[in-house]
Amino acid sequence: MNARIKTENHDRQETKYTTCYMCACRCGIKVTLEDNKVRFIQGNRNHPTNQGVLCAKGSAGIMKQYSTAKLTQPLMRKPGTERGEGVYEAISWDQALDILTNRLEEIRATDPAKLAYFTGRDQMQALTGLWAQQFGTPNWAAHGGFCSVNMAAAGLYTIGFSFWEFGAPDWDYAKYFIMWGVAEDHSSNPIKIGLEKLKRRGGKFVSVNPVRTGYSAIADEWLPIKPGMDGLLAMSMVHVLLKHELFDYEFLVKYTNASWLVVQTPGEKGDGLFLRDEKNHPLIWDIEKEMFKNGEDGDIAPALFGEYVAPDGRRVKTVFSMMAERYLDAQYAPENVALQVGLPAESIERIALEMAHVAFKEAVELPIAWTDVWGRKHDKVVGRPVAFYAMRGIAAHSNGFHGCRAVHFIQMMLGALDGPGNFRARAPYPKPIPPHQLPENNLDIINAPNTPLSRPPLGFPTRPEDLVIDEFGNPVRIDKAYSWEVPIASHGMMHMVITNACNHDPYAIDTLMLFMANMAWNSTMNTKNVQDMLRMKDPEEPGEYKIPFLVVIDAFHSEMTNFADLILPDTTYLERYDTISLLDRPISEPDAAADAIRHPLVTLDRDVRPWQEVMVELASRLKFPAFTKPDGTRKFTGYKDFIVNFERSPGIGFLAGYRGVDGTKSLKGEPNPNQWEAYIANQSFFAHHWPDNQKYVRYANKDYLEVAADAGFVGKVEPIIMQFYSEPLQKFRLAGMGLYDGPQPNNQVDRERLVKYFDPLPMWYQPLEQQRTDANEYPFFALTQRPMFMYHSWDSQNVWLRQIMAQNYLYMNAGKARSMGIEDFDWVWVESHNGKIRCQVKTMEGTQEDTVWTWNAIGKQKGAWGLKENASEATKGFLLNHLISELLPEKNGERRVTNSDPVTGQAAWFDLRVKIYKAAPGETGSWPQFDVLKPFPGDERYERPNVLRYDARTHEKN
């Protein structure tokens, strides 16, 4: 009956499985190839992440593969031309590697910290971090610091796992879901899959977001909050829960430090620290035995409330008493925060009560027997089916760390963590709070030539002694992470690197290597000035730039490559071997630990090399101990060999699956020489499905923790007790007060910041930039987000995606715009304390009245990304980045301070405030405009036709 329908001829097709790299979601993909050409990319139905579905970016990967922005060969800035002119000469890989090796050899042999190596949205931080550690430089980080470290740090210092990639909502059981400040993010496909599941089951979805697009569009209730007020909203909800006595008493006692006792000796050393016994265990007051007992033990009946006197006479108080005192205060009452957060008091109270209703009246019970870490057996798992997810909307503020922690407070009070229907952990999380990993801060090791660091450059400080500072208290890292200015900068501060390096503050560096990070454009604050900084010459070293040597590793002709002295061209994700490791950013799901690989599907047609391969090569040439045999010869033939045979500790390597000589061991086992083949045979991923008794309450689940300890996820089997009260913060605060037995800051600015912002319980304060700008002059909050079809994608556009969006607008609330006489498509000037831009307006209902926003990274520099000069991305698209400064506005008598969260160093992108006024008639087109990027040698291979007719078929074409 269907005689007339010709189906496809599959004779010359083959199907291969790999992992998507269009964003940080890392879905499994099934790629159909026809004669080495990509015919079709679809989701892998068996993959734990995306279960067969695939987003727009994933499908558009086909056009990424055929992008005309692809670099084709190593390039060297032409001698005699200036940096930023964009004039390059092709060189061979041998030349490129020799140049780089020689330079790095010398740095490593003299002052390893003179190399700074920062990476963008990459998914191989385990390898880049290891490389930096082996090189011996503390100056390494990925883009977490300007992405969402507040979210990660708040979680890891509070609950042992976090939003971002370390947990996910339990979509199968959740009945109430609140999404805080989330555009399309990591886990984009899982969230879409999940939202539909939730809604199909009749669950309620609430979105807290100043903008109603994307996920928020389908929310049952939209709370158009003012940016930066999330913490206040969460604390007000905590107020409501306390007032109604709606909290999970049992959960608080069992799994949190709510009952731990805090010393109350204001103005004295030791104030605000936990009361501890001689073995340093935190103590509680046991109401049954009427005595102080170890708060980590199982056999206790702690008082949740109360003040007691310690044997040494000091007054102590339970954490929960302190909490109740703080948050019961009328300043947190819904009616008193309503105006500030921009939401009706009624909504705030009602949402809090709705959550509590669902948590306590609609609890889920699963008949799953499990054993807790104290050895007691349980015959069921109780779930309080309220789940949260939160992201950059809360995180990217200078008060975001506390805001994120406050959100976790609600979860803890409801007992809604890692149970059925909750936000649940993804392996290797949960981890001890904070994870037992400290950043390298031994100056002797850092300064030693040709010596690896003894531990990674990044970690989780718990006290001032853990800071990475010199004997004078000055920063040791180029980004000033882990200095008094930003003590818990756990993901580094990539957004400060160029500024600090150009200011030689804290010191001058020699070489900056940037991988896959567009720091000269949309991934930096203050774009225009940063471009100038990259061109800045050093007056003390005639002929030298402030940053003497700049190496850029990228696959595409970005705005950043244009500033490189040396460009090392990378491959696309379909052309290389790669690992998505549990040692890195996990792709696990709550029900399964998982990792994945990529392998080349398409034959390379240009002289480019995968960066992982080049890193192993450089590591071997530079004779890093981990990459060199005792006899001085290279240990690994290449990246594949490295992945198979490198063990971080015995039995634990980059890939957790198909280990052991015969490939039968999971999570831990000897290297398997055929591991790559095993992964390829298993559709390029590995999943260890947790048995039912290891799926829930994993912070205190004995069977799970035993496996986790064996697999190296945690150090040992011990309870992970959630931290309402954060003692590490109090230690830093005491240092700021001059009451700490150990390092203390000597700069007044640092002291003030520590005292003010290192509150061991969440607090709300006005974002730092806003403390220094006039809200009357700059009445609008200004934000960005990425559209769903471009989120986190490497080059953010290709010939298909750009048809959907080739220009961004400044979106305003329609009523507000009307009141200002601004109409759709008007050109306006947008001005902040840092500068001004011109862009075009679109009005909409779904934007909070005091907020304007735009899609980020649509604007491009002319000539970049394989586009023609007149591309509307370049002529009409714009960046908000120009308006955002990486430094806070100057204050008299104070050194310039980073525009970041004072606790974590998270870039405060969303603290921006602006004013808006209509452009004069005739003032059209986006402003500022920049020089046109010149084509690179090798670019002539790309045609860029006026009509593109992509067709992968080899026969029967129309």
Partner: protein, 312 residues
Amino acid sequence: MHPAFSVIFFTVASGAGFGLFSLLFIADTFKLGGGFSADQLVAGGLMSVALIIFGLLSSTFHLANPKNAWRAFSRFRTSWLSREGVFAVAFMPLALIYLASIMFDAPLWLRESTGLLAAVLAWITVFSTGMIYACLKTIRQWNTPLVPANYLALGYSSGSLLLLLGAVIAGLDTTPYIAMSALIVSIAAVLKAIYYFWIRDPGLSPTINTATGLTRAKVKLLDTGHTHGTFLTQEFGYQLARSQASLLKILVFVIGFGLPGLMLVWVFTAQGGQALALVAAVAGLLGAAMERWLFFAEARHVVNLYHGAQRC
């Protein structure tokens, strides 16, 4: 709707051609004003055929794949576009036989029967052209019997003015021609006025609410999902300012109907006046072209509802 020049030229030229031919046949049959000579008839007939062929050729310019144009005759049973083609093509041989009969002085029955048939086919063809537009439920301004009526009236009115010009040149008694023109131009003007009046009221036409099915509240477009134009915006997105439309309507009446009317009076009183008749004919065609441009430009396809129009 995007006013495509090729389609405007085609409908105006072929309408005038068919109109001229039909009226020429009537003038021949009834020997109006003394009757044209054989040569004059043939010249006039060929002129009408030329207008038609020219129009038809021009219409193929708007085809994206003209090599398949021949297939357009295959859906006669359902498609008005196909019917128009078939009738137009059927008209041709009959019209040529009719003209040949005149030229070679064939028997009257042949001349009269082929002429009559061709004139009827001409009428049907213009009617079909109108129906191409009138049958579209997607365009409120077109989906009315007034459209084929207008097409016929305008085709015959421009044809009549051309015929009058011929009569003046041929030195015939122009009175019947003036009367005929006056009648047809008046009918066309009245019909067009009714049409313009009628399309002002949208009535119960589709709205953005019925288009999206979101009927409980005001609906506004947020984003079309593409930054730049698409086939749909190019083809259907044309929007004419209301003030511009009003001005053009006045011009249609002044140039298309008023001016020829004035010329008719003048020709009648001045007895003769080739220049006046020429002005009348050219004004008639110009008016028709403007009317046709407006016909497209004012038409709002319902797909615009999906692009943000509140009502079409």
